[in-house]
Amino acid sequence: MKKYIFKRSIQSLITIWIVIFVVFMLLRLMPTSGYFTRDDYLTMTEEMRQAYLKSIGVLDPPLTQFKNFIVNIFNGDLGRSITVYPRLSITTILKEKIGYSAVFGFASIVISMGLGIPMGILMARYKGKIVDNLGTFYSVIVRAVPSLIYLFLFQVWVSKIFDLPMLFYKDRPESWILPAISMSLSSIAWYAIWLRRFMVDEANRDYIKFAQVKGLSESYVMRKHVLRNAFVPIAIGIPSDLLLIISGSLIIENLYSIPGMGGLLIDSIKQMDNNLVQVLVLIYSVLSVLGVFLGDLLIVFIDPRIRLTESED
């Protein structure tokens, strides 16, 4: 077990390292105008621009720049944003934004597990009945229709029907309801549909039939055997979901104008804010690699049949 954790940590570190390196090098392909705020770029002469670039180290060889970037990160200095929030330190920006995304992300996980898991259980229990058909219909709509379309129509129509505010206001808690629910719409379907499939698969196994033949009650078999086994593949994703709540949802934060993390990556890439892009890619890749790692560890505790030894393929 210890050996496995050690091996996996090393592997994860290598992945993160390569991702950061590749993105860093890709960003060197971007034009250097991305290192200036718009006003600076227009007022400076060409010599001043070159001098400025030299002073911030952009003209150094890429490998030296990469080394400096890493050294700064370890010293706790994430650098400053250039074009998106001119001259603001990235730590400040993140502190401001992560809170919003994390709150909505967490609320959405609670809602989608709270509704999606019972829905999946009901669908599996009454397979082929009306509950199952309704659930399937819902999940087909949510998965096949582009999310922007149903999220937008949800916002417009539901806010009208229930007379809720269409945009997010920090000091009006009733305006938090719609974004939290719309963030859960697709993940409710995700939990329901997969749990249903795993439960149906599991319920067809021979040992389940044996348990029923032995005379165990239906609810006992469902709870102790079917659900427990069907939940293992669902559980793998939970650590990732929890860690990535801070990344926010681009569409929803945009529709409801929530000042969260959602659009930050796209904005920073579009405005070629290289410092911000690097830090964000670093954070996201660390979190997603860590999430996969924790997911693999989690199932060892949930499923005693899974043992992580060197013979694991």
């Binding site: 992945t15 087909v140 096949a144 379309i149």
Partner: protein
Amino acid sequence: MDKMYYNGTELPDDLFDEIPLDEQLSEESGYSNYSYWRSTFRTFFKSKLSIFLVIIIVVLSLFSFLYPVFSNVDPQQVTLDMDKWNVNANSQNWFGTDGLGRDIWARTWYGTRNSLLLALVIALIEVGVGSIVGAIWGYVRRIDPLMIELYNIITNIPSTVYLILLSYILEPSFTTIVIALASSGWIVEAKFMRNKVLSLRESEYNIASQCLGTPLKRIVAKNIIPHLVSLIIMEAALTVPYSIGSEVFLGFVGLGLPLDSVTLGNMVNQGRANFMLYPYQMLYPTLVLCIITISFYIVGNKFADASDPKNHV
């Protein structure tokens, strides 16, 4: 011939005849009327919903490809006549006109054609490259760690990074979008195929076939290829709604095709801007888009069910 025993008593040799291996007879004894493809299609077309949706897909695709050939309405035709701006649906403009007096009916069908083309090209590249790489990946054990690492890296770099870099190098166009979407999609497909190939290769019936001395050619042709071909068809069908959805999303974040190109994604996003005043401008193209994505999604899933031999009668 060895002595035969039954319950400890020796059986005399004259009870047995030695028969030379007869190719034809052995074929006949193993012959069943079962044909994989016939059963797959029979199961698939047994569902009325599948037939209905396949007809819808065929009719809509044919219509959207033929409409531009036979119609003389120019989807880009703007008019200075203010009476013809934002007209609601009527006998002349079946879906009404937009803010520049362009006919939404014509634009919808041009848009459908372009979006379908985009989606089909992406599906072909992703699934084509993905299946070939996935098949090799599943069979050649040695490249597995390398490919897993590549998979982690590619899926960890946000696709917007590729997209921006590409649109910086090339003009934002049909090709850029295809490359950007396919650049991360192919490895996801490849991973999916690799997992399938691995489990097929190790599945009991293939091991049994090998033990019975079935030549590799026959195992590949009868046991493995049918499985993969049905997976490829299914994945291609499911990539279509995904690609159309991505195009809508890219238009939303401002990274889509140029605004003057007519696609469903651009129409949805332009209609969204005027939704409060002229909801029909978004709703009609959205309706066509949803019919297409939902049909492809359901057909893909129904085909997946039908191609599973467990569901064959």
